[in-house]
Every structure is written in C-alpha cells, then in structure tokens.
Amino acid sequence: MKPINEMKISFPSRSSNESFSRVSVAAFVAQLDPTLDELADIKTAVSEAVTNCIVHAYKEKIGMVYITTSIYPDGRVRIKVKDKGCGIEDIEQAMEPLFTTAAGERAGLGFAVMQSFMNKLKVYSKVGKGTTVIMEKKLTPRENG
C-alpha cells in the first residue's frame, strides 16, 4: 500500500532535539485526529527510539538521526527511525525487557515501551553500519473527522 502523506525529518543526535523529534511526529499525525492517548503512545515510542540513537548508536559522538512518518489510507501510521551508528550485535537480546548495555540510569525498557505502545515493531541492524526501527500503529477511526 502506498502512503497518502509522508514527512521526513533529520537532525543531529543532540539530546536537546529529543523533544523536537517527538513533537514533530505528533504534529504530523495530528491531521488524522488521533485520541490523546494514541498521540501520547506515539510520542513516547518515538522518544524511546530517538533516545536510543543518541545514547547507544552514537554514544559520545554526534551523528544524524532520520525519521520518516507515513500515513496510509487505512488509518495506519508507520514511523521509521534510523541511525548510522554502532549497530546492535544481538537484536533479540537487546529487545528483552530490562536488558541494557548502558551505564547510568537506562532502564532497559526502550524496546518494551515501543512494543507495547505500538501495534508493530521491527528492528534492523548491522554492526558498524547502523540501526533502523520501524513501528506501526493503527489509529481508531473517527466518526466526524
């Protein structure tokens, strides 16, 4: 299926851009008239994926983060978050709740949040090349849009 609308954003992996990235996706999705809960779910999932690029993919370096948000005729929203960072060695292990490789206070729940707040989650990664996270959510149809 081809998207009926699609936006792309890119920005450097500075933590000051976390808020911008999720607000930007939410503002795009808003044209579908989602519920407040759906919008909060999407913002949270995007925040997790973007934070992972900043914290894990590029670590102390600054690299670019790429987001594509697509809207489909059936009310599905698809969000792709991509980095060209270090990549993930064992994706299955990385996706386990509470698993984290980061020092400090990462809870190891990023993927768990994406998984439970969105309807679909796919992770593609290649060590040394980068990681792409694709998430989908089906919004509840509204009577009077």
Partner: protein
C-alpha cells in the same frame, strides 16, 4: 526548568513538572540526589502531578531514587501519576516494589 523540592517533618517531596525525557533526566536526578544527600529523609515523595510527558527515562529516574533511598534506609513513594505514566510504570513492574501510592492515580483509569 525549575523543580520544587519541599522538606517537611520526616519527608521530602519533589514536584516534577513538564516533560521527563533523557535530556532532562540528568538535571532532575542531580537535584533530587543533592536533597537526599543533605537531608537524608526517611521518606521521599515524587509527585508527578505536573508532568505532561514521560518516557522510560522516568523509570530510570524512579529506580535510581528507589535505590538511593534504600541505601539510607528510607522509603520512596510515587504519587499523582496519570494513566499514561502509570502504563509505563506498570510495564517496568514498579508496583511490585510498592512505590506507587494506592489511590494516588489522577484521572479515571486504573
């Protein structure tokens, strides 16, 4: 952004506001830990009433303060969490640590 930290009797209450993400968590963490260090209260309340957004960075924040309070033999209670924040805290299994105040949920959901 400002953080209101109130110390009364045997308890410290932190009023969190705005958006809690990885970017802001470091600063919030530091301010709370300074208060714990200085006052060493038996009780720490984290009040989420003013929080408009939270991702899993907020979980790290709560877990870290939970451990800090354990170290000084104190307790942590999380209060005024809206349904969206409760969803994330449940995902993290925080109710098993009984840090979530019973009946302390704002709004309808449970």
């Amino acid at each position: 952004m400002d953080l209101k930290i109130e110390s009364k009797d045997n308890a410290v209450t932190v009023y969190l506001t705005g958006e809690i993400d990885h970017h802001r968590a470091a600063d919030i963490r530091e301010k709370i830990d300074m208060a714990i260090e200085r006052i060493r209260p038996p009780m720490l309340y984290l009040d989420f009433g003013g929080v408009t957004f939270m991702d899993s960075s907020g979980i790290g924040l709560v877990m870290g303060r939970y451990r800090a309070m354990q170290l000084i033999g104190g307790k942590l209670i999380v209060r005024n969490i809206n349904p969206q924040i409760k969803k994330i805290m449940r995902l993290a299994g925080l109710e098993k640590l009984s840090v979530m105040e019973k009946g302390g949920v704002t709004n309808e959901a449970n």
